[in-house]
Every structure is written in structure tokens, then in C-alpha cells.
């Protein structure tokens, strides 16, 4: 009597996950009928699958699916209309180095710059462009406002103990009162949960989340730029 080949673990998992075609599925069911060890193994896999699914069934985001969230998305819709009306739909992907020219071209006077990384290749050009923009606006006598919103590892630039840009940011803030720094409280909370002491640079304000601040400003007509 020939011994049947062992059913591979891949095959058993594919059975449990509904990934077998009809012929393989039927063959495996028939085999389970006469192979107790296989039957037990497949049952265990099925149990593990149910346990994994159940273990995360009650995981919910604190802010998800709430009324404020729906309101936030409604605000985004309203902002989309506002941008469409002012011709911004044509500017959804500006090349590096052209941003300020493009902004001057449409007379943008309120700009939010979102920094989500502390890497120099992200932060350095962002700060340089902001400084150039503020300088040009002042020279032209245009009353502009710029807000730098930082989250994720970008928060590091606004923290007293981690920022490699503290002196530069302070100099910019002193030179341009129309420049504001905003830290993401959600990121700060996460850092605190990990035991970090979050001390922000002087003058840095806090928003509940970076997304909240971005959407709020867009609703108010600000232009959003991702560094």
C-alpha cells in the first residue's frame, strides 16, 4: 500500500483562507475524511484564524467615525470648491524650486508648510523657501502669513532637546512675526507615552493633530505645501 504524500502547510493554509480552486478543495476535504492528523491540523489553523480576527475586532481609533471627523471631511470638500474657483486645480504637482514663483503668480498670501520628517534634505529646502518667500513678500510690501506644521519625526525640529534648527527657527521667528510654528499634539503624546520629555522651542504652538490644522487652514483659504 503506497503512503500518501503529506499535505503541505501552504496547502492547508490556502484551504483555511479559501484560496484553493474547486478541484484542490475537494481533494483536500476527501483527504481530511481519512486523515485525522490533517483534520486536526486544519482545525487548529481555522481556530488560529478566528482568534486573530477576534483579537482585533474591538480595536477602534479614538477619533474615527465621529461627527467631527465627518465635519472635517465636509470642510475639505468646501475647500476643494474654493480652490477650484481660484484656479488651484492646475497646480497639484509643482516641481521643486518652482513653488515660490507659482505662489507669487496666484498672489497666495497664506501658506501652510507641512514638515513630517527631520531629514536635512526635507527641512533645509523647506526653511530656505519659507525664508525666501517671507523676504520677497516683505520687500514687495505684501502682508503674508506662513505657518509651519510639524508632525511625526518632523516634530524633532520644534523640540528644544532634539532640534538641529533651533537657532535658525528662532532667528526666523524674530525676523518675521507673520511666521508661526505649530506642533502636532498627537505626535507629542506618542513621544510622551514612550517616555520622552517633549519641550518645545519658544513660541511654538500646539494643534490637536497635524491633519486638523491642515484642514482648518485649508478651509480658511490657506495654501497647503508638503515639504
Amino acid at each position: 500500500m503506497s503512503q500518501e504524500r503529506e499535505v503541505s502547510q501552504e496547502m492547508q493554509n490556502a484551504f483555511v483562507d479559501g484560496q484553493l480552486d474547486a478541484a484542490d478543495w475537494t481533494a483536500l476535504v476527501e483527504r481530511m475524511g481519512r486523515d485525522e492528523a490533517l483534520r486536526r491540523s486544519v482545525c487548529e489553523l481555522r481556530t488560529l484564524k478566528d482568534m486573530t480576527r477576534s483579537a482585533y475586532a474591538d480595536v477602534h481609533s479614538g477619533r474615527a467615525a465621529s461627527a467631527p471627523d465627518r465635519a472635517r471631511w465636509a470642510r475639505v470638500a468646501a475647500v476643494a470648491l474654493a480652490f477650484a474657483a481660484t484656479g488651484w486645480l492646475a497646480h497639484d504637482a509643482l516641481a521643486p524650486g518652482r513653488v515660490l514663483t507659482e505662489l507669487r503668480g496666484v498672489a497666495a498670501d497664506r501658506i501652510l508648510v507641512h514638515i513630517a520628517s527631520s531629514r536635512g534634505e526635507v527641512v533645509d529646502p523647506a526653511l530656505q523657501e519659507v525664508e525666501d518667500y517671507l523676504h520677497d513678500a516683505r520687500a514687495a510690501g505684501r502682508p503674508v502669513k506662513v505657518e509651519i506644521v510639524a508632525n511625526s519625526t518632523g516634530m524633532d525640529i520644534l523640540r528644544a532637546d532634539t532640534s538641529a534648527y533651533a537657532a535658525r527657527l528662532e532667528r526666523l521667528r524674530a525676523a518675521y512675526p507673520n511666521l508661526t510654528y505649530i506642533a502636532c499634539n498627537q505626535t507629542a503624546d506618542r513621544l510622551r507615552e514612550k517616555g520622552a520629555t517633549v519641550t518645545l522651542l519658544p513660541g511654538v504652538q500646539v494643534a490637536p493633530t497635524a491633519l486638523d490644522e491642515i484642514v482648518k487652514r485649508m478651509q480658511e483659504g490657506w495654501v497647503y505645501i508638503r515639504a
Binding site: 502547510q9 483562507d17 482568534m51 482585533y56 480595536v59 471627523d69 521643486p96 511625526s152 491633519l211 508638503r226
Partner: protein, 180 residues
């Protein structure tokens, strides 16, 4: 630097993206086991999705597309956190430990703790299949790996979970609630 396209997408698209917020959060949490980081990742995923709405060629694949963005957000997070370390599947989660798990449901806490111990690639494969019901081909597309890799990661994940949980399950199985 570039202006993102938070505008110019339809209300219908935004609604469909919003509807995926909870599943995305659950998935993000199962990958990192860090509520704050999961929130950050979902936030970033939603922003990127709105920014790149035009890249979704098939509206029926929205969920997989969002999960792929989420996976890339997590990759980016690890790159920023550990620029010198390779992004391989041996990287463990950074959140709670099995001993420190404190969910109210002891079974759920134990299972989450064991899922958390899995290498990232295995954790992603098993949660994409078990939590969200993706096919192996869809998981392969989301994680940008061959289907064979998905199957091997899934096998190793389930074998690890079997070794650590099946005896526990034998005593607790009746208490496990199915969400189906």
C-alpha cells in the same frame, strides 16, 4: 516640495476613503501595536490617498490601494526611525510586550501579544488575510512581494502562533467571539 491635491477629488471618493478609516486603523494597530503611531499612519495614509486620488485606476480596488499606501507609510516610518537598518521582515514591533499586554479581554490581549512578536512581514501577511480578508494575490500586490513570499510568510506566522497559542486556545476557545 509640492502642492498636494487635497482638492479636486469628488465627494464620493472622499466618502469612500473615509469609510475605510476604521479598518485602516485596525490594520495599522495590528502592525505596530502602538495606538498613537497607528493614528499617525492612518492620518498620513488618508492625506496621501487624497493627494494621489488620480492614481487609483480601478475604484473597486480602493481598499487594497489604501492598504498599500499604509504599508508604505509604515516603511517610511521605519526608515526614518532606523536609517541604517535594513527594512526586512525580521524587524519586531516596538509596542507592548506579551507580558505587558493590558487589554480588557485576556484572550485578545494574549493573541495580540503573540501577533506582535511576529516579524513584520509575517505580521502584515497574517493580518491582511485574517483581519481584512484579502486574497494572497491582493496581499502580494499590497506588500509588493511575490505570492509565494506571502504564502511562506503566512505559513511561518501561523506555525509560530500555533506553537504559542494552540494549547491556550484549547482552554479558551469557547470564549472567543467571532466577528463574522
Amino acid at each position: 516640495m509640492r502642492i498636494t491635491g487635497l482638492f479636486g477629488v469628488s465627494a464620493q471618493f472622499r466618502g469612500r476613503v473615509e469609510a475605510q478609516r476604521e479598518p485602516l486603523y485596525r490594520l495599522a494597530y495590528s502592525w505596530c501595536h502602538d495606538a498613537g503611531l497607528a493614528d499617525d499612519l492612518v492620518q498620513e495614509t488618508l492625506l496621501r490617498a487624497l493627494d494621489r486620488a488620480g492614481q487609483l485606476n480601478d475604484p473597486q480596488r480602493l481598499k487594497g490601494w489604501l492598504c498599500a499606501i499604509l504599508a508604505n507609510c509604515l516603511k517610511d516610518h521605519f526608515r526614518r526611525a532606523r536609517p541604517l537598518e535594513p527594512l526586512d521582515e525580521e524587524m519586531p514591533a516596538q509596542g507592548e510586550t506579551p507580558e505587558g499586554a493590558s487589554a480588557s479581554n485576556q484572550v485578545a490581549a494574549r493573541v495580540r501579544a503573540e501577533v506582535e512578536r511576529l516579524p513584520l512581514g509575517q505580521r502584515q501577511a497574517v493580518t491582511l488575510v485574517d483581519l481584512e480578508g484579502f486574497s494572497y494575490a491582493e496581499v502580494a500586490e499590497i506588500l509588493e512581494v511575490p505570492v509565494g513570499t506571502v504564502m511562506s510568510r503566512l505559513c511561518r506566522a501561523r506555525e509560530a502562533l500555533r506553537a504559542r497559542l494552540i494549547d491556550f486556545a484549547a482552554g479558551e476557545n469557547n470564549k472567543v467571539r467571532s466577528i463574522r
